[in-house]
Amino acid sequence: MRMFAAGFALLVALVAAQPLAAHDITKGDLVISAPWSRATPAGAEVAAGYLVITNKGLSADRLVSLSTEISGQPEVHEMSNEGGVMKMRALKDGLAIPAGATVKLQPAGYHLMLMKLKKPLVAGQHYKATLIFEKAGPVEVDFEVRAMGAGQQKGHTGHNH
């Protein structure tokens, strides 16, 4: 009985630890980490997805496209601020992930642009997207939706983790 209880406790501990271990995804030479999105305002028809991609290999790869059931038109975008003017463009040739490099998709920079959003993103929920890489192929990624103020680069609003 005691053995059984100990075994059960171990099992519970293993199950509880699972989500943490599932954060990083390795596919070929690529390691994908910290996929997230911000919650969307009411009626929003677009959202953005963010993540970090590290290429541990010796040859460059490229994020070519993506698909997700929550968006009718998902694209890989770049955002820039030119003299106070915000500009957003689709990356026609995808996003290069050079050998040995870590590329961050983050607010005000590269992002997954989820247009024709099919349902609002609510903090605490998750959604899945399949990223297509030129060499590593398709990778299914689970995105965590965080509060609207999450990920700001200043002091204590939002919570980065």
Binding site: R38, P41, A44, G83, M88, G149, H156
Partner: protein
């Protein structure tokens, strides 16, 4: 795109940059009360309840003005969120200020659309739309550059000036308002203008 339109676009982008720069210099100037101001001015637009509003409706209290559109994935909802946070920190004093979010995309951002979108943010934020002519006029008054850019996969996005303008009780431009700081600090700054 014709050459003259392209030249205009470049000029407008330059003007927006120059404005940001000048506004930045003003912000650090020693006597902001006495400096000249040409940003802002009269406008007539439609609010999220379908009511015609003018600049006069916002006078009597300091107010923030910024431009954007609801098909914006990042900067616009973030700015609305940050302004909401600052207003929350003001508590009851939030009644003594207001904020105006003006769409640069009146075709998609109808009053109904803006009403729904703004329900996610602080109630002291108004969302203004209007005819193309009305939007062009207010953009000009605030030296705002905005341009529709088609996306290869269909649809379009808007390049746009992302400055938040702080206006005084009389509708005169004070300075660009910095939201990239702690919300309490921004709220304290705003409180000084009441």
């Amino acid at each position: 795109m014709s050459r003259s339109i392209r030249t205009l676009a470049v000029l407008a982008a330059f003007a927006a940059g120059a404005l940001a720069l000048t506004a930045g210099i003003f912000a650090f100037g020693p006597s902001e009360q006495t400096r000249p101001s040409s940003v802002g001015g009269p406008f007539q637009l439609v609010d999220q309840n379908g009511k015609t509003v003018t600049d006069a409706d916002f006078r009597g209290k300091p107010f923030l003005v910024f431009f954007g559109f609801t098909h914006c994935p990042d900067i616009c909802p973030t700015t609305l969120f940050e302004v909401s946070e600052v207003f929350n920190r003001l508590g009851p004093d939030a009644e003594k200020v207001s904020a105006i979010f003006i769409t640069v995309d009146p075709e998609r951002d109808t009053p109904e659309k803006l009403k729904l979108y703004l329900s996610s943010f602080h109630p002291r934020i108004s969302g203004l739309s209007g005819t193309n002519e009305q939007i062009e006029a207010v953009k000009k008054a605030y030296y705002v550059y905005a341009k529709r850019v088609p996306l290869e996969g269909g649809g379009y996005t808007m390049d746009h000036t992302a400055i938040v303008y702080l206006m005084d009780k009389n509708g005169k431009f004070i300075a660009p308002f910095n939201l990239k700081r702690d919300a309490d600090a921004a709220a304290a700054d705003l409180r000084k203008r009441l």
